[in-house]
Symmetry: C2
Subunit: 280 residues, 2 copies
């Protein structure tokens, strides 16, 4: 991947309605600098117009398992970049340090969550391979533009994420359930939400499920497995998109000896304009 | 991937203009049976409405290199499926045997082409991992529908493929140049060709280059590196798409100890309707 011009993002930003939060206008490099210095926040609503990414880093002898798992489950795990072993650099954000520039991390040993630090410099082993995976926060700006302001951004919360009863297609030693995000959408805008997000297949694309949480095995929308619950208003339908937290569910189910991930909702803010990933 | 209904493909077939060759109406399973019994032919123009795929199989200790190379060069190497080690089965065509059902294969040792057999049963090692990669033959039907009948199909030839002066992004031990296919397109239909193929990003997507072969380091369009030359008429522009033969060029440049591939232009005809891969 070569360098990207910022003009598509600049255009997108110029078209934003004024209801956007202040975080929307923070440039990606500035957002990362804040996180590097210790700011801890969900990146939902930050740096609108730029792609965000999930992180999972594993020892190199597990790298093929993760890459194949992603290839076999592309709705949940659209791979945007893979680092060379040991390198904390990604082409998605050339100035970023993956060890420090996300707001919060999770540390996993044998599938158990053992820590949630704000930087992982000392844990970044020379054999770690990091995968940057597309994030649906990226299309929240596009949804806002078509009249579907994401409720979690409106309410200043992390998004709601749920572990479903759908199993991913396994790959080598990796298996686990599909994780989804949920956004409440007015009934008359569900088709619009489908159309807009279908045009971004490498950012999870169209919803995997619309309405009826029980069809995904979700018992109570008010009790998400990751993130926070949001208000669902009368006339709104819960719409579910595949989520890049799915690899963390696979870590829990498959127990690799070591893994580092972002904390759910606390993403890498990249320098790549989201227009780069649009096919519509 | 689950089973596919054939209705989108059936619709596409019903809409085909009558200029299509007889091969266009051969169902995929019948095409594969013919190839299994010894028919050797370029699959260009065969089984219109169904996706075709490039094949590269390598020992499992090279599988990560290939998968990462594909992830880093998605225009040339859009991965549609990866087999488990030793298995000759793919979800793209549940009844197919990858060892026999392509019209022709290439056998590579240390980066040297040593044979071009019509089946590879005895060469299919227990540690072989096969990658099925999208093929631009798949969108030839869509181009025909918008008034751009592919010249190589009209002339009953294999397509023209060229090794370019553009280097792919390396991955582990794999490196090599981008290979492209070329289709002559009337000047007033170039934009249409771009639009139609851009909607199929996992089948190489939009052209990588339009006109001026020297810009890709191609000295003579009449002397392709793979396949056969086709006629370019007055008022037509050569249009270049990334090609799934690129992994073979990487094999030549990177010299893995062993690899099996399809022979250029002699693809796996899958059971997957091409509509499955359309985003437009």
């Amino acid at each position: 991947m070569t360098s990207f011009t910022s003009s598509p993002a600049a255009t997108a930003l110029a078209n934003l309605d004024p209801g956007t939060t202040g975080m929307a206008y923070v440039p990606p490099a500035r957002a990362r600098a804040l996180f590097r210095k210790g700011t801890v926040a969900s990146t939902a609503g930050w740096s609108t117009g730029f792609a965000q990414a999930n992180l999972i880093a594993v020892p190199s002898d597990w790298a093929y398992d993760v890459l194949l798992f992603a290839q076999r489950n592309p709705r949940a795990c659209p791979v945007l970049d893979v680092t060379d072993a040991g390198s904390p650099r990604t082409e998605l954000a050339p100035g970023a340090d993956l060890r420090t520039d996300l707001p919060a991390y999770r540390v996993w040993r044998d599938g158990e969550l053992i820590d949630e630090p704000t930087e992982v410099r000392r844990l970044w082993r020379p054999d770690l391979v990091a995968f940057l995976i597309g994030c649906s926060f990226t299309f929240d700006g596009a949804l806002r533009q078509v009249g579907i302001p994401p409720r979690h951004v409106e309410e200043g919360r992390n998004i709601s994420m749920y572990v479903t009863n759908r199993q991913c297609r396994p790959a080598e030693r990796l298996k686990g359930p599909l994780v989804v995000t949920m956004r409440p959408v007015p009934s008359d805008l569900v088709a619009t939400a489908v159309r807009v997000t279908a045009g971004m297949p490498t950012l999870h694309g169209a919803p995997v499920h619309v309405g009826d949480p029980s069809g995904l095995g979700i018992k109570d929308l008010d009790r998400p497995d990751f993130g926070t619950a949001v208000t669902i208003r009368d006339g709104e339908v819960p719409v579910f998109w595949a989520c890049g937290t799915t690899p963390q569910a696979a870590v829990m189910a498959s127990r690799p000896p070591f893994a580092l991930t972002h904390a759910p909702g606390h993403m890498l803010v990249t320098d790549v304009p989201d227009a780069v990933y649009r096919y519509d």
